[in-house]
């Protein structure tokens, strides 16, 4: 089962490794993990996407609560979840139709030089996946995906 968890922690040395250690210690993989400081606080917010059975995930959530630097664990309720991707496409490709695809996925051209064009999308996880399928025909030479960023409603 796919689960998304938001964890708010003290922004201090080693805290990320405490959290990833909880998953690793139980043999669970983290699909995506994003982390950034919360402005004007000494806290950071982590957005974690993982897959696992309910019982183990319940235990992981409890263990996250138990960590001394953990301020809050948000794991139930409604989340806004957005993911981003950067895609590098050679300018030598026929780029006809790229504009329409970008428009459909709220994408933009992030940068370009004499050889490549880099496009960017930020959208729901499933839509980013669809975008990556659609863009395959331009033979992208590099794709970088960011992890999910979550906000509870």
């Amino acid at each position: 089962m796919r689960r998304v968890i938001s964890v708010i922690v003290l922004n201090e040395h080693g805290v990320l490794s405490r959290i990833s250690g909880l998953f690793a210690g139980r043999g669970y993989n983290i699909d995506t993990l994003t982390v950034a400081p919360i402005p004007e606080t000494n806290l950071s917010r982590l957005s974690i996407v993982t897959v696992g059975d309910e019982k183990v995930l319940e235990q992981i959530v409890k263990q996250l609560h138990k960590l001394i630097p953990t301020y809050k664990v948000i794991e139930t309720g409604e989340f806004v979840e957005k993911e981003m991707a950067l895609v590098k496409i050679p300018l030598s490709e026929n780029l006809g139709g790229l504009d329409a695809i970008l428009k459909a996925y709220n994408g933009i051209v992030a940068n370009t030089n004499e050889n490549f064009i880099v496009v960017m999308v930020a959208d729901d996880t499933i839509r980013v996946k669809n975008f990556l399928k659609a863009i395959k025909k331009y033979n992208p030479i590099d794709i970088v995906c960011g992890g999910s960023v979550l906000m509870d409603m």
């Binding site: 235990q59 409890k62 138990k66």
Partner: protein
């Protein structure tokens, strides 16, 4: 506010925390700390002979005294040697503060001499850890370390301090109070849940008290005794809970679990309401989970929310300190003795059907006899530590524990080599008490160098080796489950334990008969020196009952394999 060095801050903080004794081993990165230790008058430092023993001794001290145990080690191998001690204390929720020296801040991450990522290594086996980054944060970190170690569910805390920070000068502003945004243990249980639990207890026909190490850790044994007396509910104890109720308490059915008594395990299997107090449903207790307490609703009281419903689902989860919860429960609960009379009769029949017993012999010493005889000779005012193996289980089964903190043993991690250093720590905690370490001929060799620590400091601990020329517990498993293929468990080639202990400055005895044992133990107690009794016991005696790993707890092996 006085500007002092980081090392002085450590001494001052220890003084403010009431630390009277520190166990440790010096080294390059800890030199500043040790120089200050030499100069200060606040606490005594006991030099151990291996860092693992420093942490086990601090752990034994903590278990026997109820205070926080403290150990110092140096960086690199000094620290890595200490890890087993941390993991042992973490498994059993024992409050310890370990201070390790680290290479200078400028050298961290350069593979410097004796550098290791200590906080990276200790992270999974401590309650919390710190790498100190500046002299300014040192006082706060030391205060937090002691607070975290002893509050909530206790546990070891590791503070790693780079050498330059132990030398740096700063203001020593030791916090009076703890203000932590993120760490706030819950002490008071939910009143509604407690009320529901009390109602469930009042109507249960087959209730059972399940007492774990958390009762001892929270000093709630007196309240548990009051609760048991008021309700008359039968009780079982885990290994870590031994001594919560006195061995002769009429409600007590002895230890449960893999080597628990027949009556205790049957009680677990047939109860309709299991009242778990400070116990965490270890697999050595539950056996096959789907068969565990299969007819029971479960009340689980624990200060650690993550313990509740971790292994078995609790119908009445109560997060809180046992002292608060029990006070309320005692007030609210009413049990009609008629309600549970049949249940008590059944359990009493189970107890008579298969009591904990062994067949004694005058030809060869039986380990169980040695344990019972030790209790008779040493009296009740004794602390017992153990190593890990058959001797540990026999001690748990046959020693008549009468109070909490009387048994000092590695339950969760099962650490061989724990017994002697833990005995040293226990004796330091309570020098007037006789301290006896039951050990095996395998276990004792894992930290035997600590005889020197004991001899040097006149710490009169008595080691009783139940010597069966085997790694006995592994041999027992090989007998039952591996067709007697005794792979690497035969210890027929033995050292001369008497010469060893004499070489360290203690006294030794070989005991092959009952008379020799009685005489030797009395002599060892009288001499008041570190002592070792090499007691030659029956090689093939098994610890029984035994529940095979993964089997239902009621499927006990009751007889040895011919």
């Amino acid at each position: 506010m006085k500007a002092i060095s980081g090392s002085q801050m450590i001494s001052e903080a220890l003084h403010k925390e009431g630390v009277e004794i520190v166990f440790g081993y010096p080294g390059g990165a800890a030199l500043n700390i040790y120089d200050e230790t030499y100069k200060q008058k606040y606490f005594k430092h006991i030099l151990v002979r291996h860092e693992q023993a420093a942490v086990h001794a601090a752990d034994g001290y903590a278990r026997a005294s109820g205070k926080v145990g403290v150990a110092f080690v140096t960086s690199g191998p000094g620290f890595t040697n200490a890890v087993t001690g941390l993991a042992t204390a973490y498994s059993d929720s024992i409050p310890i503060v370990l201070i390790s020296g680290q290479v200078a801040s400028s050298l961290i991450g350069t593979d410097a001499f004796q550098e290791i990522d200590a906080v990276g290594i200790s992270r999974p086996c401590v309650k919390h850890n710190y790498l100190v980054n500046s002299i300014e944060e040192l006082p706060r970190i030391l205060k937090e370390a002691f607070y975290i170690a002893r509050s909530g569910r206790p546990g070891p805390v590791h503070v790693d301090i780079p050498k330059d920070i132990t030398a740096a000068i700063g203001d020593f502003d030791y916090p009076q109070e703890i203000k932590m945004l993120t760490y706030k243990p819950t002490y008071k249980g939910n009143a509604k849940q407690i009320k529901k639990a009390a109602e469930a207890i009042s109507v249960a026909k087959r209730p059972l008290l399940y007492l774990g190490g958390g009762v001892i850790a929270s000093n709630a044994s007196e309240l548990v005794r009051k609760f048991a007396k008021k309700t008359g509910i039968p009780a079982i104890e885990t290994l870590m809970g031994l001594g919560v109720l006195a061995h002769d308490d009429e409600n007590l059915l002895a230890m449960a679990g893999m080597h628990g008594s027949y009556a205790a395990n049957m009680a677990l299997s047939e109860t309709d309401l299991l009242i778990a107090l400070g116990a965490r449903f270890d697999d050595r207790i539950t056996g096959k989970l789907s068969e565990f307490a299969r007819y029971a609703k479960i009340i689980h009281v624990d200060i650690d929310p993550s313990s509740i419903s971790k292994i078995v689902n609790a119908h009445f989860p109560i997060v809180g300190d046992l002292n608060f919860v029990l006070e309320e429960l005692i007030e609210k609960v009413e049990v009609n003795p008629e309600n549970i009379k049949d249940w008590k009769d059944i359990l009493s029949r189970y107890d008579k059907l298969n009591p904990l017993a062994y067949s004694d012999s005058d030809e060869i010493l039986k380990p169980q006899w040695v344990i019972e005889e030790t209790a008779k000779i040493a009296g009740d005012d004794t602390i017992i530590s153990t190593d890990v193996g058959q001797h540990q289980m026999w001690a748990a089964q046959f020693y008549p524990f009468s109070r909490p903190r009387q048994l000092i043993t590695s339950g969760g991690l099962g650490t061989m080599g724990y017994g002697l250093p833990a005995a040293i720590g226990s004796k330091c905690a309570d020098p007037k008490k006789t301290v006896i370490n039951f050990t095996g001929d395998g276990s004792i060799l894992m930290n035997i160098q600590e005889l020197m620590t004991a001899a040097e400091n006149d710490i009169a601990v008595i080691n009783i080796i139940l010597n069966n020329n085997f790694l006995g517990m592994v041999r027992q498993w090989q007998t039952f489950f591996y067709e007697k293929r005794y792979s690497s468990t035969d210890l027929s080639v033995q050292p001369d334990f008497v010469k060893i202990v004499e070489g360290f400055g203690g006294v030794g005895f070989v005991c092959k008969t009952k008379d020799e044992f009685r005489k030797a133990l009395k002599e060892a107690i009288k001499l008041g020196k570190v002592a070792m009794l090499d007691v030659r016991v029956d090689r093939f005696e098994d610890v029984l009952p035994m529940v095979p790993a993964g089997a239902a707890i009621y499927n006990m092996i009751l007889k040895s394999k011919e």
